[in-house]
């Protein structure tokens, strides 16, 4: 059965998702603008996969570059905000289930958070 607190969790989740998407789209847009100003006439080649340079693959590198307003790093920062949105949503659900004293679902949701954090922070990554 749905009850009032279930509805409350859902409304908070909805707000988190909306705010995260808007924020990240804005940051990506600003980064994109900078990128076009600086590189409009460059000739990109995506035919062969080379992988991104390290400073666009790691959390530290992206923050560092974005602070210096380097266009590509600003875009990556926006994309990081986007990736963080579902993570925040999962965290908020854990709090919601805990507030409802639903221990079973608080555990299930923590498990999902653990897997997410493992892929973002563990998993042989450079973060």
């Amino acid at each position: 059965m749905r009850n009032w607190s279930d509805r409350n969790i859902e409304e908070i989740l909805g707000e988190i998702l909306r705010a995260g998407v808007i924020l990240s789209a804005l940051v990506v847009f600003v980064g994109g603008w900078l990128y076009l100003i600086g590189n409009a006439w460059a000739r990109p080649d995506y035919r062969i996969f080379r992988g991104e340079p390290t400073d666009l693959r790691t959390l530290g590198g992206i923050f560092h570059g974005a602070l210096q307003l380097r266009a590509r790093a600003v875009i990556q920062l926006g994309l990081l905000c986007l990736i963080a949105t579902p993570v925040l949503r999962v965290m908020a659900s854990i709090l919601g289930f805990a507030a409802e004293r639903d221990r079973m679902y608080a555990i299930f949701t923590s498990l999902v958070l653990g897997i997410l954090l493992y892929s973002l922070l563990g998993a042989g990554s450079a973060f």
Binding site: E11, W41, R47, T109, V112, S119
Partner: protein
């Protein structure tokens, strides 16, 4: 082609993909990768990275509206996300070792399957099923606002193990190919677990973001996400799908779905051909 021209073309193409994907309910991600690899000659790994990012954006954008309306079942979603995230981890790891040609062939096959699923007439929904012991213990039964009279209509979830296994597969495909695999998630919820269709589609959408974020971490670390490509693709798909969600089409949707399915079949065949002939 220079950056300015490429960015403009990518924004337009992604906008159309997002618009059509949202109008037909088939998702924009599924045509993005073939679009990028076949027409823009982008390596499939960069294409997968850009597509996955836009999948998170559209899923979160749409889910924000759905959760408020009370259609999606967050308990079912959260429980099954255990399966999709583990699947996504496996898929993303496989994706880093699989050769481009193999990825292209699998992608083509998935495109053909999703076109088939979207054309298949839905079996008549069984209503008022008895509660299933496992689903009841997991507190999965719920209710949703019915279209007929607006009153809460209760439903009982069925067959949790089958739903869970299918979700693992959906997560693996999502991590491997950078798509949302919404079609497979809906099959798990609607066909296996016998949830009402509206609950299935919204819950699936709600889950796609978390599944995609799991593989996105690995993609980012491996350098699949190129800012110059992901920027126009993400902004284009997001604005297209938000516009699509606002236009309510009734009569034309059928023709649109048919056209979009044909596009998907053509792209799928092309991906398989290019994968087999090694011309990617």
């Amino acid at each position: 082609m220079n950056v300015a021209e490429l960015t403009l073309l990518l924004v337009i193409a992604s906008f159309l993909a997002g618009l059509l994907g949202s109008l037909t309910g088939l998702g924009g991600g599924v045509v993005l990768v073939p679009l990028l690899t076949i027409f823009f000659k982008v390596d499939i790994r960069y294409a997968i990275g850009a597509s996955l990012v836009s999948v998170i954006a559209t899923s979160s954008g749409a889910a924000a509206a759905y959760v408020k309306e009370g259609f999606s079942n967050i308990r079912i979603g959260m429980f099954l996300e255990i399966a999709t995230t583990v699947g996504a981890l496996c898929g993303a790891f496989l994706s880093t070792i699989a050769p481009s040609q193999v990825l292209a062939i699998i992608f083509g096959l998935v495109l053909l399957c999703s076109a088939y699923w979207s054309r298949k007439p839905r079996t008549r929904q069984e209503r008022d099923l008895p509660p299933d012991p496992l689903a009841t213990r997991l507190k999965m039964n719920g209710s949703f606002p019915s279209e007929e009279d607006g009153r809460a209509r209760p439903y009982n979830a069925q067959n949790v193990p089958a739903g869970f296994s299918l979700m693992f597969g959906a997560g693996a495909i999502s991590g491997l190919l950078g798509i949302g695999s919404g079609a497979m998630k809906v099959v798990a919820l609607d066909q296996a677990m016998k949830l009402p269709f509206k609950v299935s589609t919204t819950t699936s959408n709600f889950m796609i973001g978390v599944t995609a974020a799991t593989s996105a971490g690995i993609y980012l670390n491996r350098g699949y996400i190129d800012p110059g490509l992901a920027m126009p693709v993400m902004l284009g798909v997001l604005s297209g799908s938000l516009l699509g969600a606002r236009i309510l089409m009734t009569a034309e949707t059928k023709i649109l779905r048919l056209i979009f399915s044909l596009v998907i079949v053509t792209l799928g065949a092309q991906m398989i051909y290019q994968g087999l002939s090694g011309s990617l």
